[in-house]
C-alpha cells in the first residue's frame, strides 16, 4: 500500500523561497537549495518548487536552480511556474526534476498536457489548479490563472476530470481562499475533486495544524498534503507531522 505523502512547497522568487497569504504579502523563508536539502534529509516525501515570478529571465535561473537542487535533494521533486512548452518540460526533466507542473498554459492550450504525457509519461505531468470559491454558485469553484490573478469561467471539478483524461498523472489543487491563512484546507473542494478523478490529488493551501493535515486526507480524500508556512517557519517538523498522522492510522513513510 502506498503511503500518504508530506510535500513541502517552495515558492521561489529571485532565488529565494518566499511565502505569502492568499498569494500576497510575501515573507522570506530562505535559500531554495539549502531548504530543499534540509527537507530531503529530514524525511519529506517529495518537494514542489514553484517559480512564482515566471518571467523569461527567471526561466534560465530556474533551470540552474533545478540542477543545484538535484545535486542535494534525494527525493522526487516537481517544478512548476510559467511552463508553456514541451521543450521547457524536457529541459526541466533533464535538469533533474521528476515531474513538472503546468497551470495557466494548460488552461490556454489543454493539448500541452496530452503532448507532455505522451512524450514523458503520465507520471511526469502534474496539473496544478488554483481554485477560488465561486461567488455566484455555492459549492462551485472557478479555475484562476496567471498566478491566481485572473479568474476564468472554468469549473475546477470539470477541469480536473478533463486533465486526467488528457493524461495528467496527478492534480496539485490549491485553494486560493485558504492559501497562507493556516486556517485549514478547503476539504469540500478536495472532496469534490478527489471524488471526480482516479489520479492522486495533492491538497494545497491552508495547513496550520496537524489536525488540518489529517482532515485533508480523511475528509478531503487527498493522497498527499502540501504545506509551506507551517513548515518553513518552524511550527512543525516533517517527523512531527508524520508521527501524528501515523498515530491516527494513516499509512506514512516513517
Amino acid at each position: 500500500m502506498l503511503t500518504k505523502r508530506i510535500i513541502p512547497c517552495l515558492d521561489v522568487k529571485d532565488n529565494r523561497v518566499v511565502k505569502g497569504v492568499n498569494f500576497l504579502n510575501l515573507r522570506d523563508a530562505g535559500d531554495p537549495v539549502e531548504l530543499g536539502a534540509r527537507y530531503s534529509d529530514t524525511g519529506a516525501d517529495e518537494l514542489v518548487f514553484l517559480d512564482i515570478t515566471a518571467t523569461i529571465r527567471s526561466r534560465k535561473t530556474i533551470v540552474e536552480l533545478v540542477e543545484k537542487v538535484a545535486e542535494n535533494v534525494f527525493i522526487p521533486f516537481t517544478v512548476g511556474g510559467g511552463i508553456q512548452t514541451v521543450e521547457q518540460i524536457d529541459e526541466l526533466l533533464r535538469s533533474g526534476a521528476e515531474k513538472v507542473s503546468v497551470n495557466t498554459a494548460a488552461v490556454q492550450n489543454p493539448s500541452l498536457i496530452s503532448e507532455a504525457a505522451q512524450r514523458f509519461g503520465n507520471q511526469c505531468v502534474v496539473l496544478a489548479i488554483d481554485a477560488r470559491r465561486s461567488k455566484q454558485q455555492a459549492g462551485k469553484w472557478q479555475v484562476c490563472v496567471k498566478a491566481g490573478s485572473e479568474p476564468t469561467d472554468i469549473d475546477v471539478v470539470e477541469w480536473a476530470a478533463r486533465g486526467e483524461k488528457l493524461g495528467a498523472g496527478e492534480i496539485l489543487l490549491t485553494s486560493m481562499d485558504a492559501d497562507g491563512t493556516q486556517a485549514g484546507y478547503d476539504n469540500q473542494l478536495n472532496k469534490a475533486v478527489t471524488d471526480a478523478v482516479n489520479i492522486p490529488v495533492i491538497a494545497s493551501g491552508g495547513a496550520g495544524t496537524l489536525d488540518h493535515l489529517h482532515d485533508a486526507v480523511v475528509e478531503g480524500g487527498a493522497d498527499a498534503v502540501l504545506m509551506a508556512s507551517i513548515t518553513h517557519f518552524g511550527n512543525y517538523t516533517i517527523t512531527q507531522m508524520k508521527e501524528y498522522l501515523a498515530g491516527r492510522g494513516i499509512p506514512m513513510n516513517l
Binding site: 500500500m1 502506498l2 503511503t3 505523502r5 530531503s40 534529509d41 524525511g43 516525501d45 538535484a70 545535486e71 542535494n72 534525494f74 527525493i75 522526487p76 526533466l93 533533464r94 535538469s95 533533474g96 521528476e98 509519461g121 503520465n122 507520471q123 498523472g169 482516479n198 489520479i199 492522486p200 493522497d223 513513510n253 516513517l254
Partner: protein
C-alpha cells in the same frame, strides 16, 4: 571505477548525484573500454523497455560479459527490468537474460503507474540492504513489473494489492525496481552498500 552506463535514457544525472553524495565518484560513460575496465556497473533507466534495450545496443554484450566475469552490476527501474529475459511493454522485447523471469504489466485492478513510497520487506542476508533492518519504504514509479522465475535469485517484495517484486539478486547481479537515488537516506544507504560491494569485489576481500 564504478561506471554508470550512459545510454540516452532519463535520470542518469540523479544517479550520479546520489553516488557522489555517498562518496563514490562514478564515471558516466558509454565507452566500451570504460565498461570493460569497470569495478562495478550501474544500469539506470527511465524509459520504455524496448527503447532502452535499443539504445543500449552493442553495450548489452559487454554488460553480460562483465556480469559473467563477476563484476557487480546494479540495475535500477527499467535497468532492473532489463536484467530479465523478456518484457511485453509495447510489444515483446528481449532483455539481457541474466536472471530468469519476464516483465509484465501491473494489473489494471490497481492504480497504474505504481507511484509513491511503498514498504519493502528486507531479508537479513542481502548485502545490498545491510544496515536497513527488516523493512523500509522506497520510492517507486513504474507501470510494469518483473515476475521472477529464477530459482537461484533472491527476491524482495512490496504489497501493491499483490506481491510485487521490488528487488532481485543473483550472485553479483543486483536489481531494484524502486529508485534508490530518490528514496532519501534509505535509498542512499542502498547505493552506499552497492559501492562497498564493488570495493570489496575489487580488493578480493
Amino acid at each position: 571505477m564504478v561506471v554508470v552506463i550512459d545510454y540516452n535514457v532519463g535520470n542518469v544525472r540523479s544517479v550520479c548525484n546520489a553516488l557522489r553524495h555517498v562518496g563514490c565518484e562514478a564515471q558516466l560513460s558509454s565507452d566500451p573500454k570504460a565498461i570493460e575496465e569497470a569495478t562495478g556497473l550501474l544500469l539506470p533507466g527511465v524509459a520504455a523497455f524496448g527503447y532502452a534495450m535499443g539504445e543500449l545496443g552493442t553495450l548489452a554484450e559487454l554488460i553480460k560479459e562483465a556480469a559473467a566475469g563477476g563484476i557487480p552490476l546494479l540495475g535500477i527501474c527499467v535497468g532492473y527490468q532489463m536484467l530479465f529475459e523478456k518484457s511485453s511493454e509495447y510489444g515483446p522485447h528481449n532483455g539481457l537474460g541474466l536472471i530468469r523471469g519476464n516483465v509484465v504489466p501491473i494489473p489494471r485492478s490497481q492504480v497504474v503507474p505504481h507511484m509513491g513510497w511503498n514498504l519493502v520487506r528486507l531479508p537479513e542476508d542481502m548485502e545490498l540492504f545491510a544496515g536497513l533492518g527488516s523493512e523500509k519504504h522506497f520510492y517507486f514509479a513504474h507501470s510494469y513489473f518483473a515476475e521472477v522465475s529464477d530459482p537461484q535469485a533472491k527476491v524482495t517484495y512490496t504489497d501493491y494489492g499483490f506481491e510485487l517484486s521490488a528487488s532481485v539478486q543473483k550472485a553479483n547481479v543486483y536489481g531494484v525496481q524502486f529508485h534508490p537515488e530518490k528514496s532519501g537516506k534509505v535509498g542512499l544507504q542502498v547505493l552506499r552498500n552497492f559501492y562497498e560491494i564493488c570495493e570489496r569485489t575489487e580488493t578480493g576481500a
